[in-house]
């Protein structure tokens, strides 16, 4: 029976060691999810050695006020779910503020046990703490623990369990006499609430809390007279009176309990902080740290492992420990030199390069370098160009295709070193061996495995990044990032911590979106999730390169302009969105603790890395897999010679996807590219942004003006990201409504920006349409109005969010 189970809520301030304690108490028996409808993480786990005891890890909070999502979630759990007990962890080195939450927990009429963490550190510092006296003051059991070393933690958990079983409800602290009198009067009004919650609701009514259940909130007018009387007497508002009372009670309780020596002396943490947030050094240090995080997780380890996953494990295969790679490359280069790069081919490419054919110089450079991989890439991209121009005078495709065709005897991978075939190759061989039919084979290989590969390809990079984030968070530097960068980012409705998601987003939007988890305020977090993918990620670079070389003759301003476009979109979105109804209800005070620096434990970092990585695979995996199968079906079902059916070798134009593209291409007419290929390319971009390039060869740009090309670029950079990133957005938003809002907003913004670029650009070049121009100018005016319209920061949390 579920009722026989005992639930203990674990509550405490952020940075109090709560996560370490939770991990130590539950081990690997954890369930990680989200609180319903909000982006706040929910964790629960079974207490080690007690199968029937569930530990519910509440979010790290400072108070039970009604103003932040974390606090409201915690309150609702404590009041509505009726846990059997509370284990309250407090940081012994920071008792005064930590006990503030304790004074509120004591009012809930639930058994409470207080675990003082880092008590050993206090003694070492030469400070003194009298736990016996503290226990007497609080009226509950107080146990000294070290979450890090694991001492005392089981005793604390068992004490909480014992208190819960004995139903030894905690007693609230006593306020000043007149306040107590008022609270008693208000309690008298509370008829219908359970006896143990009377004190809690009385205090909340006194504070004029706006997150009360209806039956209690209905009593507010009756309580008003009592409250006003006290307010007048104290010359202060009721909320301040209660807060003051709490802190005053703590100060008197700690007198004689807690002796701090050597005030004014600099601790190690203070010394580190002096350098790290120094006026002159802070920014250089910040950029060095960011560079390191980016370089390792995106550029080196990330790319290396991700490439291996995409091209090796989920590609043709790979050489174990790289053993044999060099020999193979050498053999391939020799084969190309002998069979592909004949004198005729080289001469033709030389002539084409002299004639200024696009890409010919790249092919030539590859031949001169004797690099077959570079040649394949350049030829694949520009080969057709050589066939088309000058009636095929420069064509090299006959020779190349014969030399690399099916009958050619190319060096085989397996003849060199330790070649391990990739998963698709292995599965294909297996399917061939069991005579699987072509349809099923295609579904498994191109639909499912390609989808799984797309998910797993991001995972290594993500794990490296999450390890870094966990380190930065738990060592205390993350809070300093927010401190240092706040001034810039808060103007756009973002947090200083938004810098990291955006930075990581330049590599890949998927870990970028996931990195938003470190932002503590829900509004900032949602805003960051929505805007991170505007920045051009690694997969968007080929699109930029393609447009630049095909339509702008490789102009050097195009690529930087794409980044400015991304940054501009983030800034404008931040300012506009924070004024919208969706965001206006979330107050975002920046009153942040700067925790003391300390070395995190390896175990905690690995655990955090694993949890975040795994939750991505679980939550985002399904959406990516599903969409991968849908796109596969869309591109392989279609019309062959007028008859509908399945055909794996279908041209995209003849497929269902092509028909879909043809059907919706009118949407893009105002943006200048109502072209079937451009439309399909945009749709394919949802699978992976680099697919856009695959659909859209160089030749297809002949009919497109440079302006329309740039509008196409702008649209594809800003619109909905790839499915993997959408999956990450869904995972982080934890709400269908917010996911759709994010995707919808991104597409809308992309459309508006591309529209303005094309229409105003056309006007300037004289080819414009007056009607379109007027709309474009109206849109610009509209955006400016949205940017400058007055706005007042919310002071209460508006949505119920339950």
């Amino acid at each position: 029976m579920a009722d026989s189970k005992i639930t203990i809520a674990l509550a405490g301030n952020p940075n109090s060691g709560k996560t370490t304690l939770f991990n130590a108490l539950t081990g690997s028996n954890q369930f990680v999810g989200n609180w319903p409808g909000v982006t706040v993480e929910k964790k629960e786990g079974r207490l080690k050695g007690h199968k029937d005891v569930m530990i519910e890890d509440l979010p790290g909070i400072y108070s039970l006020s009604p103003y932040t999502t974390e606090e409201v979630v915690s309150r609702n759990f404590l009041v509505d779910e009726n846990p059997d007990g509370i284990l309250n962890i407090v940081d012994g080195t920071n008792l005064e503020r930590n006990l503030y939450l304790t004074t509120q927990l004591l009012e809930l009429g639930i058994p409470v046990v207080v675990a003082v963490n880092m008590a050993d550190l206090i003694e070492k510092n030469g400070d003194k703490i009298d736990l016996k006296k503290l226990s007497k003051e609080l009226g509950v059991e107080v146990i000294s623990i070290s979450a890090l070393k694991g001492t005392g933690i089981m005793e604390a958990a068992e004490a909480a369990l014992k208190a819960a079983e004995a139903k030894k409800n905690a007693k609230p602290i006593k306020f000043a006499k007149d306040v107590e009198g008022a609270l008693t009067d208000i309690e008298g009004l509370l008829g219908g609430v359970p006896a143990h919650l009377k004190r809690w609701f009385a205090v909340k009514l006194f504070e004029r809390d706006d997150k009360l259940p209806e039956n209690v909130a209905a009593l507010a007018p009756k309580a008003e007279e009592i409250i006003t009387k006290i307010e007048n007497a104290h010359d202060d508002d009721s909320e301040s009176i209660i807060t003051n009372e709490r802190y005053e009670w703590i100060a008197s309780a700690l007198k004689g309990t807690y002796g701090k020596k050597g005030a004014g002396e600099l601790s190690v943490s203070d010394k580190i902080d002096k350098i790290v947030t120094n006026r002159w050094l802070a920014l250089p240090i910040f950029f060095c740290v960011m560079w390191l995080v980016y370089y390792v997780s995106v550029t080196t380890v990330g790319t290396f492992v991700t490439d291996w996953t995409n091209d090796g494990l989920f590609g043709d295969g790979y050489y174990l420990f790289g053993n044999g790679r060099e020999e193979y490359t050498e053999a391939m280069n020799e084969y190309y030199a002998a069979n592909v790069w004949t004198d005729e081919v080289t001469a033709n490419v030389q002539k084409a390069a002299d004639a200024g054919i696009t890409g010919a110089d790249e092919i030539l450079a590859a031949i001169e370098d004797g690099d077959y991989e570079a040649f394949d890439e350049a030829y694949g991209f520009y080969g057709a160009e050589l066939d088309e121009k000058a009636d095929g005078a420069y064509s090299i495709s006959d020779t190349v295709d014969t030399a690399l065709g099916e009958d050619a005897e190319l060096p085989a991978n397996e003849d060199y070193g330790n070649w391990v075939p990739g998963v698709p190759v292995l599965v294909e061989n297996l399917l061939d061996a069991i005579n699987c039919n072509d349809f099923l084979k295609s579904l498994i290989l191109d639909g499912i495995i390609a989808g799984v590969g797309a998910v797993l390809g991001f995972v290594p990079q993500m794990f490296v990044l999450f390890a870094f984030l966990a380190f930065l968070e738990s060592c205390g530097y993350m809070a300093r990032i927010a401190f240092v960068m706040d001034r810039i980012f808060r103007k756009f409705g973002l947090s200083g911590k938004s810098f990291i998601p955006v930075l990581i987003g330049t590599g890949c939007g998927v870990p970028g979106v996931m990195a938003s988890r470190t932002i503590e305020n829900e509004r900032d977090r949602r805003m960051t999730i929505m805007t991170t993918t505007f920045i051009p990620c690694g997969a968007k670079l080929p699109i930029i390169a393609l447009i630049t070389s095909a339509l702008f003759k490789g102009a050097s301003w195009v690529a930087p302009s794409a980044y400015f476009l991304g940054i501009g979109a983030i800034i404008i979105s931040g300012i506009i969105l924070k004024k919208t109804k969706m965001f206006a209800g979330d107050p975002a005070p920046f009153v942040m603790e700067l925790p003391a620096y300390h070395w995190p434990t390896v175990g905690n970092i690995l655990r955090s890395m694993w949890e975040r990585g795994w939750s991505f695979i679980k939550k985002a995996g399904s959406i990516i897999l599903l969409s991968s199968i849908v796109i596969w079906a869309g591109s392989t079902f279609g019309w062959t010679d007028g008859a509908f059916g399945w055909n794996p070798d279908l041209e995209l134009e003849d497929s269902v996807l092509g028909a879909f593209g043809n059907g919706i291409k009118w949407i893009f007419a105002p943006l200048g590219f109502d072209d079937i290929k451009a439309t399909i390319a945009t749709v394919m971009g949802l699978v992976a942004k680099e697919e856009v390039v695959g659909v859209f060869g160089v030749l297809d740009f002949e009919g497109l003006t440079a302006l329309a090309g740039y509008a196409f670029l702008a649209f594809n950079l800003l619109c909905a990201p790839c499915f993997a990133a959408i999956g990450a957005i869904k995972r982080e938003m934890n709400s269908a409504k917010w996911t759709w809002f994010a995707i919808g907003y991104q597409c809308l913004l992309a459309y508006v920006v591309a529209f303005i670029i094309f229409q105003l650009g056309s006007l300037v070049t004289g080819a414009g349409n007056i009607f379109g121009g007027i709309i474009a100018i109206a849109l610009v005016a509209g955006i400016i109005w949205l940017l400058v319209r007055p706005y007042k920061e919310a002071t209460t949390l508006q949505t119920a969010k339950a």
Binding site: Y62, S63, S65, Y67, T68, T93, N94, E96, R97, Y100, D236, D237, E239, S240, T243, N244, Y247, K260, D273, T277, N278, R279, W280, A282, L283, A479, A482, F483, V484, M485, D486, R487, I488, R490, P587, P589, F590, V591, M592, E593, L594, P595, A596, E793, A794, T795, T796, L797
Partner: protein, 73 residues
């Protein structure tokens, strides 16, 4: 009225009362800046905002605009 914003870096001030309302005010109080407490203004962020304070034995950062809500003696 002298507020926390006017306190020079390296100075300590005693809080007289809090102005304003709602989330920000409650948050400031929850973090321990209440009537009568001593607040040490430790430094200002490299870009000129926010402030770093020491209050009740720990470090707290507060934007200058919000510091204006805190009246000091």
């Amino acid at each position: 009225m002298k507020t926390l914003r006017d306190v020079a870096i390296g100075e300590t001030a005693k809080v007289k009362r809090l102005h304003g309302e709602g989330a920000v005010k409650r948050r400031i109080m929850d973090m321990g800046i209440t009537k009568g407490v001593e607040v040490y203004v430790r430094k200002v962020a490299p870009l000129g905002d926010p402030l770093e304070l020491t209050v009740r034995g720990y470090e707290l950062s507060l934007r200058k605009d919000d510091a204006q809500m805190v009246e000091v003696e």
